[in-house]
Symmetry: C2
Subunit: 564 residues, 2 copies
């Protein structure tokens, strides 16, 4: 083991992490890193922020915090790792345990022997096979070349209009970056909603926020062709025939794991399209490990294998692969719960665990709640969060959590992710001892409040319905009686205008006569965030009404147009 | 149960929460809230921020988010709760199940019957029984009267110098508030360090930060007398004889649970001085519950009962007490892990779980690590966090976590608190799926990186020592060989100057001849944050040295004076 030969294919995230960790664990090993691109250890998740002008020094994407570029010289001197750049691994000979490489500049072929091999070949941006995809002006934002191309566009200030194809994480980040470059952006998403890691109600709120920033959001429509003029992009044609004139299009419809090399070597490829690895990151060949965007990961909650191309997981997997290569299988990558987050201008949107659909598919008896409330007290300039919690009705365990808004989404999602990984129940969270002081949270943290609402619902104290349900019901013939429990001043400033009756909570006990005569009539209560709406519902129920509901999240979770 | 009589004594945090929750669970109950003070439901944790001018509208401390003052009228109209203010509960008659109250303005006595009673009598600021404690100018910051008094001082701009007695959470918050009022502040702490929920090394870094803001921090010294002139404070005399001239002194040496009423009624009082309750918040009398600052709570990790006077726990306990009063014992308050946080100017300081001393006392075989690294990438203006993790060597479970610095302490502590409550191991955390995008965290989150360092230590890859250890060792005759593994530019800008030798990591393999000849010599490596220091140690060990250590956290965790 002391003079082990370790070869790592791939030099973006998982690869360099694996190589560096292997070195720290075995100071005598001969470690070789093979990288197709010219650069190493690129902070690729930082590309949108470089394009958007959050920083101007491109080297920050490629350098250590002290400014040393992570080039082959750095890898040699600091890590004692031989790094070949512009070198492609073109074949793995599992019998002879060596990798055939081609140095791209010279064309030379080299065979590199390994005792253990770590495959970190990453993923490639999907490109739809449609007309005009190769026009000048059609790009992706995956490689550093893409980042350079788009940053140049920012700096040149010539381009006015862009279309971002795909409303996922990268699409939204790209959209913000281009918007900050003073480009008018349209997002085109094939699915009914953008950011599909969110439930549709939260997703619509994010789309509204984008639109408030003058980003056009087109949903349920795909691109049928990129239109060109003299080889340059002049517009995008949508599947419904609409043409959007633009000089730039960025395709961000996801990535495909790079598995050609592994497949050719006979390594097992899974249904999600990635290299199959076990919890030790070991492939179907005991001497070959794999990590990063090229592998499939276990979804810890569904038990299924999924493709989870996240930069953080790539690093964690690379570290685990190296530990097991050097010291034998012992370190475990336990899987993903599909935690993700993205910045959306002055909002953030994040999710962890399962959404309600996935949870139902996984066989859970699911309950959900929506909680709209601030992250901090008003006197400390608390900002709104709209969150959704998904729980199992029987075990009362938290299964998933989503959060959006200008508030501290990142803390919410990190806290929830830990609660999910720790197998905590809603009742554990309801009395959790989280850090509280007014600069950081409410006395009852937003996450704990979400658990309280869930308890109220699971225990039958509250019948909650979504804004989506209310929207559907108000257009029916037998529309429900809608009660807004806020004060008149609040009503004058902001209101839904969907036929609701205003009865302030404090006056409700005296004004019960204004409710429908029929005690079985459907009554839906709300307020700004539906705390008072909940109390109103309890009062009305107590007055003998049998079908009283609360619109969860209140007006703050209403993603449809409102009167005022 | 339908016409249950519920009486709540105390109207600050736990009491109003219990009354409101009881109402929601039982719409027919007769609910009475008895409050000694004139105000109800005060956001007392907000007082320092009102005094410090974070906001000017005092009513924000007493009002709902929509601006309605939470007075008896509000409680009647919105909650159908009878609230008596300026009314003191002076006796509990457990036989007859009633509470004797005195209306303080009229002097009238009233007996209020209960089926279930919830005692939320809170806590009172400790005042040392020393000369001058009653002088005009000596205050606390616990009541709204205190807040009014100190806010007036801010607004009048007459007072120049203040002494804050006590360097705990409230002391530090008060210090910041007074400093923002342009008052020169000295903190006097009896113990060797301020903020005792932190380890001494982290605590010293916070003290350094306070001193950088021109706050004077005096440790290991108590107040022996408040000095006066014509009944007004003129200075503070310390136990070592020093006199500090000042016009204001705020005493913040902790609080004592208010248990006189409960004690008189024969309820069981615990060793920590609070009312004894079980997990249902039930006292030794089955019809009496208690919640908030007057009770003792179970420490979930040590199994001991502790006094944990935190506003968030008061609310959670009040809610649990109400649930069990109305629907019988079912809801559980599982205890505290002593999570706390406070803002320290542009730093924050937080802790959760056990520190190393408590953990050892609880019988754990303890390992600790220090991690100094940013919360986000440099290109997203990441800010430093210095964190300490405490874990059990055998179970490898995380027992405690502390974090300080300008970085996102609040998220770190919330994440760690969940991990501790979820019983997670260091190995679970090392591969945790947390939300990652550059605006929110590093690819390997600071908390996960802490777990990685802990793994390295537990697995014997790294021998880490604290700055405190190094500080002690350098003044010994057989001082260790100290190696700074940074670059020359960095060394020119900042250095310890304690006899260290600069050998940049990248040059180390070629310069091993500069190390001591004796292979058993103690060598301690570090860099800015000791990542490169760790790699240097591995190289040196590999060269045959047997006693190589890493100074954890590097220069960023060095709390002593440095040369540059």
């Amino acid at each position: 083991m002391q003079n082990q030969k370790i070869v790592v294919i791939g030099g973006s995230a998982a690869g360099p992490k694996a190589a560096a960790k292997a070195r720290r664990l075995n100071m005598s090993a001969e470690i070789t890193l093979i990288q197709k691109s010219a650069d190493l250890s690129m902070a690729s998740c930082g590309y949108p922020y470089y394009v958007g002008g959050f920083f101007d020094d491109r080297n920050m994407l490629l350098a250590t915090p002290t400014g040393v570029t992570r080039d082959p010289g750095f890898f040699k001197k600091a890590k004692d790792v031989i790094a070949y750049t512009r070198t492609e691994a073109i074949e793995i000979d599992r019998e002879r345990k060596c990798v055939k490489c081609q140095h791209l500049d010279s064309g030379d072929i080299q065979w590199v022997d390994y005792d253990k091999l770590i495959v970190c070949t990453g993923a490639t941006a999907k490109k739809p096979p449609i007309e005009g995809i190769d026009l000048d002006g059609v790009s992706t934002l995956v490689s550093i070349q893409d980042a350079d191309y788009l940053r140049k566009i920012r700096d040149e200030k010539k381009i006015r209009r862009a279309v971002v194809v795909g409303g996922g994480l990268i699409g939204i980040e790209t959209c913000e970056a281009l918007h900050l470059a003073d480009i008018e952006v349209t997002i085109v998403e094939m699915l009914p909603e953008i950011l599909t890691f969110l439930s549709s109600d939260l997703s619509r709120l994010v789309a509204n926020h984008l639109q408030s920033k003058k980003v056009h959001v087109i949903r349920e429509n795909g691109v049928s062709a990129f239109l060109g003029l003299d080889g340059r992009l002049s517009g995008v044609k949508l599947q419904n025939g609409t043409e959007l004139p633009c000089e730039l299009a960025v395709v961000a419809i996801g990535v495909t794991p790079n598995v050609a090399l592994a497949k050719k070597a006979g390594l097992k490829i899974g249904e999600a399209g990635g290299i199959v690895v076990d919890k030790y990151m070991q492939t179907s060949d005991a001497d070959i490990y794999a990590a990063g965007d090229c592998v499939e990961s276990l979804h810890m909650l569904t038990g299924k294998r999924v493709h989870a191309p996240f930069g953080d997981l790539a690093n964690l997997q690379g570290r685990v692969a190296a530990e097991n290569c050097v010291n034998g299988n012992h370190a475990e990558f336990k899987g993903t719960i599909q935690t993700g987050i993205c910045q959306v201008f002055d909002y953030a949107a994040g999710a962890t665990g399962m959404d309600e659909i996935t949870a139902r598919q996984a066989g859970h008896d699911v309950e959900t709640i929506v909680n709209a409330s601030p992250d901090k007290p008003g006197f400390m300039q608390g900002k709104l969060l709209v969150s959704k919690m998904v729980a199992d009705k029987n075990s009362r365990k938290i299964l998933g959590y989503q959060s959006i808004g200008p508030g501290d989404v990142s803390k919410q999602i990190a806290t929830a992710a830990m609660a999910i990984m720790g197998g905590m129940t809603v009742d554990d969270i309801a009395v959790a001892d989280l850090p509280y002081a007014p600069p950081f949270s409410l006395a009852i943290d937003h996450f704990i409040a979400s658990a309280h609402i869930m308890q109220n619902k699971l225990d039958g104290h509250m019948k909650g319905v979504t804004a989506e349900y209310v929207k559907e019901r108000v257009s029916c013939k037998d529309a429900p009686f809608l009660l807004d429990a806020r004060g008149p001043d609040e009503y004058e400033q902001m209101r839904l205008g969907i036929g609701e009756v205003l009865i302030p909570l404090g006056a409700l006990r005296q004004r019960l006569n204004e409710l429908p005569d029929n005690k079985d009539a459907e009554i839906i209560c709300f307020c700004k965030i539906s705390l008072r709406g909940y109390e109103a519902a309890l009062i009305i129920q107590h007055a003998g009404y049998t079908n009283v509901k609360v619109m969860e999240g209140g007006i703050m979770a209403w993603s449809y147009p409102r009167e005022l």
